[in-house]
Symmetry: C2
Subunit: 234 residues, 2 copies
DNA sequence: CGTGTACTTGAATTACATCAAATGATGTGG
DNA sequence: CCACATCATTTGATGTAATTCAAGTACACG
């Protein structure tokens, strides 16, 4: 999967009050009145799959909320490989370190066509003056990040490649009611689990043969959750 | 290393204004006046090595600051093994999730004789009413946790066992001016790096043979940082 | 229709885990 | 203070899982 740094398509000034994911987003606890009279320069952006939203070490000037799609946060160990440390989907926030005026600590790359809203840190600081609720919201976001990071380490980076792949499927099924989920390209799977793409490929194939999962079109898979759980706890 | 849940020795009511690590601690930005007139029930505690400070899933009623010593945060994957996800030393805070009224997400265990101060969440909430600075301080702590978690994944859980051990030595040397550092028991090293204690042992022995490190008494090692860095970037 | 990219599969090699046994360190009770 | 128990460390031998290198297939796109 090739990665490009592009200008995202600008989709206009968003109307935060009407945002469908507002209950998930950073501003969920703010009242209508908090927005009035502020010219916040919040933007709606659309990125195609495989594009860089921001790059590691770049000065952080904005926080983003995922409105639709999926984003991966990538870090680069000194050996030249890359490691995906987090996966962000609808409602998640990225680039929080910008609020503390720190440079971005990851490279953020879209994994699908993705809709984001971009909130400059200046807006965060402005809003905060009026409404300390935002701080509480930010703390919760941070807490979620730590939780996801720890889960990533304990579940997706521990154990054999087989158990890791099984856990990844369970992770992706997570909140869904149906038992099918979309996987990414094998290279992404490898970067998430800390294995090679060939190993990832072999194990996915093995799971298919054993009918633990069932390949559907477009990289989707129907999962036998019970058997996956059994494999995941070895 | 056996682990016990004990009552810590109570060392009395601390005088936060005079704390030597206050510049590192949660309250660093608070003014003297913020403390006056508040009966905060902050406690000073001493734990011997290998003792449980709090356990995973326990309701979080207090945040802790490490005044001296070292603490590990441990999680348990379903296969019965354990994984150390973070290492906390002087000045670090643990159990921040308690501020958000969440249960503790790890089991916290001392790795040395350790001095802690215990701050009930009620105290945090009281202080916060007067002083929003504390929130900013808390956000920085959270940011540090995420940073450490990501570093842990990218550096200490990626690559061969050899490079991981080398990176652990570099990590432990981190801020120090001298080039020696204290290692823990091999089992702890294994739980940090996601390898077995035998492998950890072999690699430490190999480094000693190659004179990349030099064993000193009491599990301390003198490190050749340059050669370690070379190994760490393979 | 050809070309590039991702995916798949195989065979050889390597790194690591596992099992087992010996050594060393530490502490306890007689 | 010694004998013994307990626990961490070390080292070796063996098996296995995963990487590496390589070749071939499927698929999308100009």
């Amino acid at each position: 999967m090739k990665v490009k740094k592009v200008l995202a398509a600008w989709r206009g000034e968003p109307q935060c009050e009407k945002c469908q994911v507002r209950h998930l987003a950073l501003f969920s606890e703010l009242a209508e009145s908090d927005f009035v009279g502020l010219h916040l320069h919040i933007e709606d952006l659309e990125f195609p799959s495989g594009n860089i939203i921001y790059q590691s070490k770049e000065p952080g000037r904005a926080v983003f909320t995922v409105r639709h799609g999926a984003v991966k946060l990538v870090q680069y160990p000194p050996d030249g490989t890359q490691r995906t440390v987090r996966l962000l989907r609808q409602g998640a926030a990225l680039g929080l370190e910008a609020v503390l005026d720190k440079p971005y600590r990851h490279t953020a790359i879209t994994m699908q066509n993705t809709l984001l809203c971009r909130i400059p840190t200046t807006a965060i600081h402005q809003l905060n003056v009026q409404s300390p609720k935002l701080y509480s919201q930010l703390m919760h976001r941070w807490e979620q990040s730590v939780e996801q990071a720890d889960e990533w380490l304990t579940f997706l980076s521990t154990g054999t490649a087989r158990t890791r792949v099984a856990r990844l499927f369970l992770h992706l099924n997570g909140d869904a009611y149906d038992t099918s989920c979309q996987l990414f390209c094998r290279e992404d799977v490898a970067a998430i689990l800390g294995i090679t793409s060939e190993t990832a490929c072999r194990i996915v194939a093995e799971f298919c043969r054993d009918k633990v999962i069932n390949a559907l079109p477009n990289n989707r898979f129907e999962c036998d959750l019970l058997r996956l759980k059994k494999i995941a706890s070895n």
